[in-house]
């Protein structure tokens, strides 16, 4: 019977080509707009490492003195001071850990044909690559020993490798950063992690860094911060050492904790650390505490999906609703015009349910076609977003979930709009149209 309904639906749609086309366009445009905004929303809120969601944690400390407050929802700063990052990373409670700084250099290529250029870099610990599953093409991360001593070594990304050397295994070669020579120990494969969960604070979207150096070089090379620096009190800052000793928060610190027990151990470790620091005269407040947040908590906390975006999704669904209202009225007119035929079908033994099903199938077909066309429109919309706004480049994309969501939403929406007309038409009194010819 279902195939028969499809056949009937197809004939019915073909019989009124203009109305069918109008309805198709209405649903397609509605779905197109909705899917465009929803895809952006989806890509923004997507967790790029769901399998490690409960293992990678951002660490926060409420370090400021009593009376000073942070503007965050839980009164915790996003980043850490150098003292705290250094102290915490000395411990061995986490399975892996990395303190990080977003920095950058002037790069002077060995090849005189390539002009010098500016490159963003990330100072991190050797664990960073394993924690975020960064793939190596050649070589590996620097030794753990380097994390303690500081040594001028670097890991470079695939793109930078192409740019400097034209690709290939260049482990052991040097790269000159701000006139300091770094030995390349590892070269990454092409790699992408978006949103950049390891540092949402300094730009969640865009290209991942192509240059990594040991965090332990901070005091040695006096690495400048290319990210946010926030303080809660006035401090003289004349030398780099002043900054290292200050209460300014400017570093990220992430830990990998394998299970609940490890999480608890780490919380205890932080509590112990705070007590110890309080004895030394820091953290002068009653509710000094630390917190860890997993990836999805962190994404949510940092509001990676902006409120604007949520409003946009809401608006686009409202637009879809308007489209549906139009479809509903078109369907109603179309179906009621068919009442005489339905009267005959009812007289010949069709039950209300069968008439209802026949019409819903027709509407469902419309939804499927509208969904397909809507996908094309959404692709166009996303393309326009990508080409018009560079910051949308990463997120104006459709993944498989969205490809499947489009026809699903479209069919459901059409069924919703079709329910009332179908119900109305299945209630026609069979006799009403039979007396007249």
């Amino acid at each position: 019977m279902f195939l028969h309904y499809i056949d009937l639906g197809w004939r019915s749609l073909r019989r009124t080509p203009v109305v069918s086309l109008l309805m198709l366009l209405a649903i397609a445009i509605g779905i197109g707009v909705t899917m465009t905004s929803l895809s952006v929303y989806h890509m923004m809120s997507v967790n790029p490492m769901p399998h490690k969601n409960d293992q990678l944690f951002a660490v926060q400390l409420r370090t400021m003195d009593q009376g000073a407050d942070w503007w965050t929802s839980d009164n915790l700063p996003f980043q850490l001071t150098y003292q705290d990052a250094m102290n915490l990373r000395k411990g061995s409670v986490p399975f892996r850990q990395t303190a990080m700084l977003k920095t950058g250099f002037g790069v002077k290529p060995a090849n005189p044909d390539i002009p010098p250029f500016i490159e963003t870099a990330r100072a991190a610990d050797s664990d960073f690559f394993a924690m975020y599953e960064v793939p190596f093409a050649y070589g590996a991360a620097w030794d753990k020993a380097v994390d303690l001593q500081g040594e001028a070594v670097a890991v470079i990304g695939d793109e930078l490798n192409q740019k400097l050397f034209g690709g290939g295994n260049n482990v052991g070669k040097d790269i000159v950063l701000d006139s300091v020579s770094y030995r390349i120990v590892g070269i990454l494969k092409a790699w992408k992690l978006e949103p950049q969960i390891y540092d949402l604070n300094n730009g969640a979207w865009g290209q991942n860094e192509q240059l990594f150096i040991p965090f332990s070089l901070l005091p040695i090379q006096e690495l400048k911060s290319w990210g946010n620096n926030n303080g809660w009190k006035y401090e003289e800052e004349n030398t780099y050492q002043d900054k290292l000793n200050s209460e300014v928060v400017w570093l990220q610190y992430k830990v990998e904790l394998k299970d609940k027990q490890a999480q608890q151990d780490f919380r205890d470790y932080m509590a112990g650390y705070i007590k110890e620091q309080q004895k030394l005269g820091r953290f002068k407040r009653d509710d000094a505490e630390g917190d860890i947040k997993n990836i999805s908590q962190w994404l949510d906390y940092r509001q990676i999906v902006s409120a604007d975006n949520k409003i946009l999704v809401g608006l686009s669904f409202m637009f879809l609703f308007v489209c549906l209202a139009n479809i509903l009225s078109l369907l109603l007119a179309k179906f009621l015009k068919r009442a005489p035929e339905i009267g005959v079908r009812r007289a010949l033994g069709a039950s209300k349910t069968q008439v209802f099903a026949q019409h819903l199938v027709e509407v469902g077909m419309l939804g499927l076609a509208g969904g397909a066309l809507g996908l094309l429109i959404a692709q166009l919309g996303l393309y326009l977003l990508r080409s018009g706004f560079s910051r949308y480049e990463a997120v104006a994309q459709m993944d498989l979930t969205m490809w499947l969501a489009a026809p699903t939403i479209s069919i459901l929406a059409c069924l919703l709009a079709g329910c009332y007309p179908a119900w109305k038409v299945c209630r026609t009194t069979p006799a009403l149209y039979l007396k007249t010819q």
Binding site: S12, E341, A347, K435
Partner: protein, 237 residues
């Protein structure tokens, strides 16, 4: 098998109230062939529609095969109609988008008959009404009489136990009308109960029983004539 007691049907619109049927009492036995006659607007179609459960009635009781129709749900009526009743409508009521084959197929589909059996029955019935060669045509390509025959084929294909025919020969020439009548007589012989509305006294005579509907009531033929005479007498005075 069919029994109507004091059935009444009132149509109400904003302005007028029409008593289409009043105190309608009627019994039909299994296997009967009944012809219904009566003036236009007397309630014949209304009676057939109620008998076929296409329409609800306003008062009285109607039992079909011992089942009180008034107690059935809409789906219950649809099922009963689907299983037992075949219709030939006054207007042929073919579905314009479907070709003849598909039109005849409609009741068979709702009855859940398998494709091969459907094909067999459709071809046989179209053959019986002399339209076997035109199965692929749509109703608009046929004359009124041919459409009437398709409507008959559609009713026959369901092999109903109970056939309700509203002027099945209204658009046919007398030869064709007689052929259709023979068809109906044949399926009646095979066991189907038939109620046929007709204006043709010759055809009506061939039925086993004649009833006359006047003003929404069954009336004796003579009484009706007497009434007419009274009317005339009244007009002359």
């Amino acid at each position: 098998m069919l029994s109507m007691t004091n059935i009444s049907k009132v149509y109400r619109s904003e302005m007028v109230q029409t008593n289409a049927l009043r105190d309608f009492n009627f019994q039909v036995n299994e296997g009967e062939f009944i012809a219904v006659t009566g003036p236009s607007g007397s309630g014949k179609t209304t009676f057939l529609n109620i008998a076929g459960m296409l329409e609800t009635y306003t008062g009285g009781t109607y039992q079909l095969d011992g089942i009180d129709v008034g107690r059935l749900s809409d789906n219950g009526r649809a099922e009963l109609r689907n299983q037992k009743i075949g219709f030939i409508f006054q207007g042929f009521n073919l579905i314009p988008d479907l070709n003849l084959y598909e039109n005849v197929e409609v009741p068979l589909r709702y009855r859940g008959i398998k494709a091969a059996e459907r094909k067999r029955r459709i071809e046989r019935c179209l053959e019986q009404v002399g339209l076997g060669a035109r199965a692929k045509h749509v109703p608009a390509q046929l004359s009124g009489g041919q459409q009437q025959r398709v409507a008959i084929a559609r009713a026959l294909a369901g092999e109903p136990r109970f056939l309700l025919a509203d002027e099945p020969t209204g658009n046919l020439d007398s030869l064709m009308a007689r052929q259709v009548m023979e068809l109906l007589e044949n399926i009646n012989k095979d066991g189907a109960t038939i109620i046929m509305v007709t204006h043709d006294p010759e055809l009506a005579r061939r039925a086993q029983r004649n009833i006359q509907v006047v003003d929404g009531q069954i009336c004796d033929f003579k009484l009706y004539q007497g009434g007419l005479e009274k009317q005339r007498a009244g007009a002359e005075v």
